[in-house]
Amino acid sequence: MTATDLLVQQAINGLSLGAMYALLALGFTLVYGILELINFSHFNIFMVGSFVALMALEAMGVVGQQTVMSGFPLVGVLFVAFLATTMFTGTLGVLIYRFLLRPLRGVKGPAAMITTIGVSYILFNIVLLTIGADAKNFPNPLPPIQWAIGGAVLRLREVLIWVIALLLMGGLTYFVQYTRLGKAMRATAQDPEAARMMGVEVDRVIMTAFFLGSALAGAGGMIFGLYYNFTSFIVGFNAGLRAFTAAVLGGIGNVPGAMLGGVIIGLIEAVSGQMIATGWTDVIIFSILVLVLVFRPSGLLGRVAPNKS
């Protein structure tokens, strides 16, 4: 491998990671933009999503590393699993909001945030106790197709991650920019009181944000499983922390910022593993976060939060 090949390969690795972090970061950002709440249950909604996808795939007979599919059956199976996962986690997010967070609206202080931490631990332990502590094998139905770019290798699974992530992010951007509900969401993010006065159903908007954010986390969980071929009750913590960092790095509350932050964190992770040592990856990622926050406290693309005036 030449130095260029190596760089290309690490860029491929980093972009795949980044796509996953970006999907997850969007959930933090959507909720924060409207409620100014950091939703820590998001960490483990992602993890639950990976298990729902695992169960959906296994229910359709896609088990272990041996089942390889292609063409329409593959697309169909992935699509059904995707729908099941996003619907499940989206609904889970809405339920968490409706029953645990809405009663706390208007309560000052960190009560809501602490609640989300509690919910996160509840999800974590439910999975631990019902499914077990060991890592579970995630099916790998993708055919082993790969392309050579010079000396670097691009695998089908990387392309799949990018395509799914781009489609979802494109869809989300369209939704937020051009649909009625999306406009209502932006209006609520700017000024909930004014939006309410203009006839926006704020509660519905918030639920939509929770649904979309959690569905994206579920999608992220499914992609995680397909990419790494394993899942375990513990996977939410690391990915969640990095995605949260990505959201802050890009400017929390800012949708394009979350995507940019995700990709940057993914690339840093790959490049620092190559140039320095993987043992130092966390130190590097979080040092960069601290530096960015010192010099640009609102993140790279600027923070978006409800207008308090």
Binding site: N13, L128, A133, Q274
Partner: protein, 412 residues
């Protein structure tokens, strides 16, 4: 429904019956003495933990059934040093467990821990309480090394015994195997940041250098991270003959999966941390095919003399044993033998006497005669090498079926 009157009647009847029973047998009830079993029942090493615990439980149940020690009955008390947040053993939890054992006067000795990182946290506390523990699987040499006596046995006496040898042999012997049997010229070394993993990788690396194997690099994996593509890509660009991984299942399973994709042709090996059902269940074939693993004990589960024992174990627990189930059984045997000897001499069976008896005894066990040096290390130093090779005739999560024994690693 249980009325109050009925309840009183029942209670009275039970009391009478038990009283009568006491009179009929005319015997004082056996005194219960406890043996702690501290392993990592939560997290990535849980499957192994259960199979290891089963070994000790089997020995204890057999001793109770045979009334091995007159006047005493053993009770196995399980302690879990794994926590959900750590995802594997947690040194803080291990320390808590050690305190619990020490504070329970009826606990005369313990089997465990599974992991060296837990052992390092437990040893000083057990030393202060003079409670002997026999590990069936933790192999980091520091804990019993007299150089670190101040740290791990501040009270002076050895309390940390082993029915396996240490990484001071496991790592270097495997390096010899790399050089002499596999004819490896270059290696990249990884560890999982844990006490065991770092120690094993260091010991391997030192001997590999002496043997003239080129060390192309050394890096550390975060066991909680999911993605090792960056480091594996770097390794691929260096084009080594082999990869040695010092560490346990949490990072090991992910490493094996991703290494298969990125560096499929490189020879891959680890220590006893990758000799586990987790490698088979969480990685699976074909990714896990070809991995080398070692254990710090003789290979016994396929030994002809143990056929009946293995069958009994499977019948009792419904799962196959691993070699560390045997070293765990042996550890319990040593404790039981110590208690028996003390009871026979008419002295009370307490932890001080048990420690001294363990230190000085020679006990005949499944792996042969077990005795310890002054530091608590096992006298015999055998390292067995295995290679994972798919065997469709056996269950795919069966260690014996899928890990093929390839011989004893040359002694360093």
């Amino acid at each position: 429904m249980l009325t109050r009157r009925y309840a009183i009647k029942t209670a009275a009847a039970v009391a009478a019956a038990s009283g009568l029973g006491g009179v009929a047998s005319a015997q004082v009830a056996d005194k219960v003495i406890k043996i702690g079993i501290n392993l990592s029942f939560t997290g990535a090493d849980a499957t192994s933990a259960t199979r290891i615990a089963n070994g000790a439980i089997m020995a204890i149940d057999e001793a109770n059934a045979k009334h091995e020690v007159k006047g005493y009955k053993f009770e196995a008390v399980k302690y879990d040093d794994g926590t959900a947040t750590a995802g594997q053993y947690d040194p803080a939890q291990a320390a808590t467990n050690a305190r619990k054992m020490v504070s329970d006067k009826d606990t005369i000795a313990a089997v465990g821990p599974q992991m060296s990182g837990a052992g390092k946290a437990m040893a000083p506390i057990l030393s202060a309480g003079n409670l002997a523990i026999i590990t069936p699987s933790s192999t980091n040499p520091d804990i019993t090394d007299p150089k670190f006596a101040q740290q791990y046995r501040p009270a002076g006496k050895a309390i940390y015994f082993r029915t396996v040898t240490t990484d001071a042999f496991q790592g270097p012997n495997m390096a010899n195997y790399f050089a002499e049997t596999l004819k490896v010229k270059s290696v990249y070394v990884l560890d999982d940041s844990g006490a065991y993993g770092v120690g094993l990788a260091d010991a391997f690396q030192g001997q590999a250098e002496k043997k003239g194997i080129k060390i192309l690099g050394r890096d550390r994996l975060d066991p909680k991270a999911a993605d090792y593509a960056a480091i594996l890509t770097k390794i691929k660009s260096l084009n080594p003959d082999s990869l040695f991984y010092g560490g346990v299942g949490q990072a090991g399973t992910k490493l094996a999966k991703q290494a298969y994709e990125i560096i499929p042709k490189v020879i891959k090996a680890g220590g006893d941390g990758v000799y586990s059902p987790e490698m088979l269940t969480a990685v699976g074939f074909p990714a896990v095919e070809g991995w080398y693993a070692t254990i710090a004990s003789p290979h016994l589960t396929e030994d002809d003399k143990l056929t009946k024992w293995v069958a009994d174990y499977k019948k009792k627990f419904g799962v196959p044993p691993e070699d560390y189930s045997i070293t765990s059984y042996d550890a319990a045997l040593v404790i039981i033998a110590a208690a028996k000897k003390i009871a026979a001499s008419g002295k009370p069976v307490n932890r001080d006497a048990v420690r001294d008896a363990i230190q000085s005894d020679k006990v005949s066990t499944l792996q042969g005669e077990v005795s310890f040096d002054a530091n608590g290390d096992l006298q015999s130093k055998v390292v067995s090498v295995f290679q994972i090779h798919k065997n469709d005739a056996k269950p795919l999560d069966d260690i014996d079926g899928q890990y093929k024994y390839v011989g004893v690693a040359p002694q360093a």
